[in-house]
């Protein structure tokens, strides 16, 4: 379980998060949604232990999150974070050496699923294939928590759909929890259990997506717009 308690994060004088409290139950796919600059990425980085809160606590399975929490958390950055001179196969090798929980077989299976050429250099990959490769190396880790910052942004519909299908095929919700940020709500909404809506560093609401459809007869996009305008 992930617990955030009264978390404030300031970048110099700018407040990115203004006292958020949040609980994420295991076995769910959770979407962190909100406008640009609302604090989504900051929240993910705090959980991944890449940032420290100014105030408050971030707990992952009861443990205070810091750099070493990467044993339990796989984090997919919105930036391209790998060596461009590596080939696809070398990138997978590199991850396999870095993380002891890396499942080689799963990675190979996913490379086939994503139709990635193992001998191609990362710098020669298209943006879509770089996006796919990032997904492969993140999902091949057998960790309880998977965090993804904008896994779909800037990718074409075919890539987006292969990433979504890859997510469903290779994630084990009995053992894993996924938290992702996205603006591609229409595509991702059938995938989500719960959403956390953030605005200006404050959590507006945390809700089950099926409840939104059931009780308010709204799609996720309409719901978000409605809440944002209130």
């Amino acid at each position: 379980m992930i617990q955030l308690e009264g978390v404030v994060k300031r970048y110099l004088t700018k407040k990115a998060l203004d006292g958020i409290s949040l609980q994420i139950e295991p076995g769910h796919i959770v979407g962190l949604i909100g406008s640009n600059g609302s604090g989504k990425s900051t929240t993910l980085k705090l959980i991944a232990g890449l940032l420290q809160p100014t105030h408050g606590t971030v707990l992952v399975d009861g443990e205070v999150s810091n750099r070493r929490i990467c044993r339990k958390v796989a984090y997919l950055s919105e930036l391209d974070a790998y060596y461009s001179f590596f080939t696809v196969a070398q990138t997978v090798d590199f991850y396999a050496r870095t993380f002891s929980d890396f499942n080689r077989e799963k990675a190979e299976e996913m490379l086939d699923f994503m139709k990635l050429d193992r001998n191609q250099k990362v710098k020669h990959l298209s943006k879509g294939n770089r996006g796919r490769l990032k997904i492969v190396v993140t999902l091949a880790r057998e960790v309880p928590f998977i965090l993804m910052d904008e896994p779909l942004s800037g990718l074409d519909p075919m890539v987006r759909s292969s990433i979504i299908k890859g997510l469903i095929s290779f994630i084990d919700l009995e053992k894993q929890t996924v938290i992702l940020t996205t603006h591609e709500l229409q595509e991702i909404e059938p995938l989500l259990d719960t959403v956390v809506l953030i605005k200006n560093g404050v959590i507006l609401e945390q809700k089950s997506v099926e409840d939104i459809r059931c009780n308010e007869n709204l799609s996720l996009v309409d719901w978000m717009v409605e809440k944002y305008e209130q």
Partner: protein, 125 residues
């Protein structure tokens, strides 16, 4: 089954309807096994937890049975399937009638219209 969903209706209910329709059309026969939760999830790009809920819902209404370690199977009880067929018919008629009434058609017009439609269609075929 890669059709998209109506995003303002719970997806687990929409999946339920789709599976029921498949059973009624005979695409999935009596006593036949449903695809696994994961396969259905991948096939329709939805959360596996949602598919689980759909299967649970179908199980509660007796349309499918879960056999431990083997999967989920369509019931072999024709009475249940007959009842499901009947329910589906009524719900579609309900929708048709209420929409026609909303537009101001009388029951007589509806009946006559329906008969006419079926007859001309038959002649064409």
């Amino acid at each position: 089954m890669a059709q998209s969903f109506n995003t303002s209706v719970p997806i687990y209910l929409q999946l339920c309807e789709r599976i029921k329709n498949k059973i009624i059309r005979g695409e999935i026969g009596m006593g036949e096994r449903l695809p696994s939760v994961r396969d259905t999830a991948i096939d329709s790009s939805v959360n596996p937890n949602t598919v689980q809920r759909t299967y649970r819902e179908l199980e509660e209404s007796g349309i499918v049975e879960k056999k431990r370690g083997q999967g989920t199977f369509v019931t072999e009880d024709p009475a249940i399937l007959q009842k499901m067929r009947e329910e589906l018919k009524i719900s579609h008629i309900n929708l048709f009638v209420s929409e026609m009434r909303e537009m101001g058609y009388s029951d007589k017009e509806m009946l006559a219209g329906l008969k006419d439609y079926l007859v001309t269609k038959e002649e064409k075929e």
